[in-house]
């Protein structure tokens, strides 16, 4: 299995002197293709910093970040931007779809920005929507969709083309639990197709969709869950109550 994301002893410090904040301290994290990892911690534990560093939107103060085997530190600003456009998809709490574009245009937009022709980008956009069971929503505008549907379109946009690293920040935060579940099912489905997913959250229900949960406290990865065994283990006959 290829590691699509590797954080090696990554630290991040903001400010200096008495105002110094140690946002991350020597965090190691490896996420393989096909794996969904949740990073769970309270507000201020460093979750969002971890995600922005993993997505090359911010640089670590120390340590190494590798995306699909390439170290970000050795890249120019332009190379990093190109890698972001090609390989990394983001999902935010508030969807961030453009209101004047249809669902498929929203999904195709990152490819067009990357220089792909309009027709090819639209075709890839449709493929991404169809793979996630959203083909029938391609021509609808964001204001014709519910919050849950918009977030599912945002997930299709995050995995369109060759994007193989999906980074999500509280992706179900604005949704009720049943719509939130539909979003997590889709994220899980995207990962089953080979994408590496990282979800940061404070929410245990959301984290429980992941193959592995890493616990972040005060900028440190303090613990993680074991990979769960198959579902059948819970449905063994139990004594009657």
């Amino acid at each position: 299995m290829t590691a699509l994301l590797e954080l090696r002893r990554v630290s991040k410090v903001y400010g200096s002197g008495p105002a110094l904040v140690q946002a991350l301290f020597e965090v190691d994290l490896t996420v393989d293709g096909g794996e969904l990892v949740a990073v769970m911690g309270p507000s201020g534990s460093g979750k969002s910093t971890l995600l922005t560093i993993a997505g090359s939107l911010e640089e670590p103060s120390a340590g190494e970040v590798l995306v699909d085997g390439s170290a970000l530190a050795g890249m120019t600003r332009n190379q990093r931007a190109r890698l972001r456009r090609r390989l990394i998809g983001y999902v935010f709490q508030d969807f961030n779809l453009l209101a004047g574009l249809t669902a498929v245009e929203n999904v195709a937009l990152p490819l067009e920005l990357d220089g792909l022709g309009q027709h090819a980008a639209r075709a890839a956009g449709l493929t991404a929507l169809e793979e996630l069971g959203l083909g029938d929503q391609a021509d609808r505008f964001p204001d014709e969709l519910s919050g849950g549907e918009r977030q599912r379109i945002a997930i299709a946009r995050a995995v369109v083309g060759d994007r193989r690293l999906l980074l999500a920040d509280e992706p179900t935060g604005a949704l009720d639990s049943v719509n939130g579940e539909a979003v997590m099912r889709l994220l899980r489905a995207a990962c089953k197709r080979g994408v590496a997913g990282v979800v940061v959250t404070h929410d245990a229900q959301l984290a429980s969709w992941a193959d592995r949960v890493v616990f972040l406290r005060d900028g440190r990865a303090v613990d993680q869950t074991a990979r769960p065994p198959g579902p059948e283990s819970l449905l063994m006959p139990r004594p009657n109550r």
């Binding site: 309270p42 639990s177 245990a204 229900q205 429980s208 769960p228 819970l234």
Partner: protein, 192 residues
């Protein structure tokens, strides 16, 4: 769990045999609560004795003996469905007690202890979520049972989160409980 009332609910749809009741009970509860057939027949006998169900053949005892709900069984079911389950006073919660007891124990890092329990709970939630994720979209009964367990476990994780935040804001050398007891303290009656 009230097998008695679950059987009344199944019979409210129409007459059924004992074996059929057992199968339907299990499938409607997401197969999470297995029921043995002896338990079904014992419960049916008691329901019949109490006049809440009646059978085709009160003297017979075969597997083809059919049961149906009586009008008073219908009233009993309706009353049970609308009666709130026992939630007050709160149950005695072992995890709450463990965290409270751990506070003054020398050498126990209560934050580490909280994390041990948090990890265990989240692992359990992962198991249940995977059960739900792998199940058919049409298996609403299983989803309802699993959701109930997930919400219950989530509430415990949130309690641990809140406990950790409260404990982190305490001064390091705070004497626990002995001198900090306020003059008047509300008492919570707890189920034994």
């Amino acid at each position: 769990m009230s097998v008695r009332h679950a059987l009344l609910a199944l019979l409210s749809e129409g007459p059924k045999y004992g074996l059929q009741l057992r199968q339907e009970f299990e499938s409607r509860t997401g197969e999470v609560w297995p029921l043995n057939v002896g338990q079904v027949y014992t419960t049916l006998q008691r329901l019949e004795r109490d006049g809440l169900v009646e059978s085709d053949d009160p003297e017979g005892d075969g597997p083809k003996k059919g049961f149906r709900i009586t009008p008073s069984g219908g009233r009993e079911l309706d009353e049970w469905l609308r009666t709130p389950p026992e939630t007050v006073p709160p149950p005695r919660d072992e995890l709450v007690i463990k965290v409270l007891v751990a506070l003054p124990v020398p050498g126990v890092d209560v934050h580490e202890l909280i994390q041990v329990h948090r990890r265990h709970l989240v692992e359990l939630m992962q198991h249940y979520t995977h059960v739900k994720a792998e199940a058919s979209d049409h298996d609403v009964e299983l989803a309802l049972v699993v959701d109930a367990e997930l919400f219950r476990l989530e509430a415990v994780v949130r309690w641990l989160d809140a406990a950790e935040t409260r404990l982190a804001s305490l001064p390091a050398a705070r004497p626990v409980a002995t001198t900090a007891v306020p003059a008047r303290r509300h008492r919570l009656e707890v189920r034994r």
